[in-house]
Structure formats: structure tokens, C-alpha cells
Symmetry: C2
Subunit: 131 residues, 2 copies
DNA sequence: TTGCAGCGTGTTATAAAATAACAAACTGAT
DNA sequence: ATCAGTTTGTTATTTTATAACACGCTGCAA
């Protein structure tokens, strides 16, 4: 049987996975409160940090929001592309970019441990519309 | 004579420039309140957005904090390296990295307009200490 | 089977970050 | 001198996140 903690994590992940739009912790809270009126913020944040550590969820720092990992969770560093028009989010994995960042860091003696790479702009379909 | 708005911006920038550590809006507020007890958050946030638009201040999304631009303000995209041990922040300008991100974006039809690139880790001196 | 350790959750409260909305004061131009 | 435009002040509120501790379940060991 599933452990209790994993149930909450599964519920949170399911909420996030229903959309490619980022959700804030409070969006998720509202969604899950429908089935559990007593749910409170710490529970959501606890599930989110566990999921983030597992690589199943990405936190988008520039939106204070979260998205499910499109690849079902892995260890690589994601480049996040956020469409500011429609709100959709896309992941890319660009090892050469990470390598270059690593090289440049090394030159100045910096040792990177966590990468936050978020691009804001327009996705293909929104850019099309505006032309 | 200076315009009024510019005075507030200069005060905020001066606070930030005194350190290479990031300051939150409320840190700046506290610092400036010493000389002006009535100062309130909106005034600080207004100055910060003006300074950010001018490129004189960078917002660090992953810390909800701000640093003065080390190069005294320009238009290029900064890569920010944050030492999680001592809190110091360093900027780098890496056009090849930005180019690569641009190329990869183009491939998926994404048009980037704002880049958030923040590396967390250890700076040279902190890394040394831990060895 | 009882008791207890460990863990996840519930609950309350609060902290921290940001903004909305409108009033008041200043600036510069006419 | 007045008025339009802009900056700042002020109050209140919203949004995001966490601290602190109580409660209750689960599984193991005595």
C-alpha cells in the first residue's frame, strides 16, 4: 500500500499534470480543497518540495509557480520557456548551454549547484497570432 | 535640479550599491526608513521597477531580491551567480550562452523576450574554505 | 496487544513579498 | 496663478511561504 505522504504528493502532481500552465501553491490548494476542505498551505508546500526534489515538478522562480515535469521526472537541468501571452510552459534540455555556463563559472571560480534558467516570451502559436 | 522621482531612485540605488549582497525590497525599506520614517513599500517597489527597466538594478527571481548592476547599467543579458554560503552575487555576460538559447528557442518556435539565468552555488572563496 | 518511535498531516498563526486604490503634494508649462 | 501630469503618501489587502506545535496513523518490538 501507498504511504500517506505519497498520496498527497500524487494528488498534487495530478493537479499539475492536468495542464501545461503553471499553478501556484494556492491554485493547487484551491483545486484539492474541493475534495478536502481542511487542506492547508503547509501540506501543499511539503508535497511540492518532495516532488521538486524528485524532479517530478519544476518550480518556476520568476512566477512563484509550479509545473509537472514533462518528462515524468529526471535529473537533468531544464530550460523553461514560458509564453507570457497564453501562459503555456515548455521544457528543453540543452546540455551544451549548461556546459558553457559551467565553463564560464569555472573561469571565475564559481561552482554551480542549482541552475535557474527561465525564458519569457511568446510561444509559436501566440507569436503567429500577433503577426 | 533632479526630479523628485530620481531622488528616490538614487537613494534606493545607493543602498544597493553599498554591498554585493542582494537586498529585498523590505531590506531597502528598512535602510531608508532611518532617514524617512514614513516610507512605505509602494515607493520602494516603484523605484525598483524604474531602476530595473533602466538596467541599473537586477532582480534576482530566485531570491525575491535585488542587486545593483555591477556595470553601472547596460542592456545586455546578465548571468547571475549567487553564492549560497556567503550570499555574494556576481554578474557575467555570456553572449554565446544567450545565442545558444536563442537558437534552441527558434527550433521550437519560441521567441524569448526576457531571460532569467541564475546560478546558485559556491563562490571561489567559500568553496576553498569547505575544502 | 500494548506501547512507543517516527513520520506525515492538521492547525493556528504569522512572516514576507507585492500590489491595489485613491488622496495629497509637488513640478513645470502656459 | 492655475492646471495637467506625475510622483509620492497612505491605507488596506492580496499573495506567497513558513514556523511551531499538536494530533494521529503505521509498523515494529517487547
Amino acid at each position: 500500500m501507498q504511504k500517506k505522504g505519497e498520496i498527497m504528493q500524487a494528488n498534487v502532481l495530478e493537479s499539475l499534470a492536468k495542464t501545461d500552465r503553471p499553478m501556484t501553491a494556492y491554485d493547487i490548494l484551491a483545486a484539492l480543497k474541493v475534495h478536502n476542505a481542511k487542506l492547508a498551505p503547509p501540506t501543499i508546500y511539503r508535497a511540492l518540495s518532495a516532488l521538486t526534489e524528485q524532479g517530478k515538478v519544476h518550480r518556476i522562480e520568476s512566477l512563484n509557480a509550479y509545473v509537472a515535469c514533462q518528462c515524468d521526472g529526471h535529473e537533468d537541468i531544464a530550460v523553461i520557456a514560458i509564453c507570457d501571452d497564453c501562459g503555456s510552459v515548455d521544457e528543453q534540455y540543452l546540455p551544451e548551454v549548461i556546459d558553457r555556463l559551467g565553463q564560464a563559472s569555472e573561469k571565475v571560480g564559481f561552482t554551480p549547484k542549482r541552475h535557474v534558467i527561465e525564458l519569457h516570451g511568446s510561444c509559436a502559436s501566440c507569436e503567429e497570432v500577433s503577426n
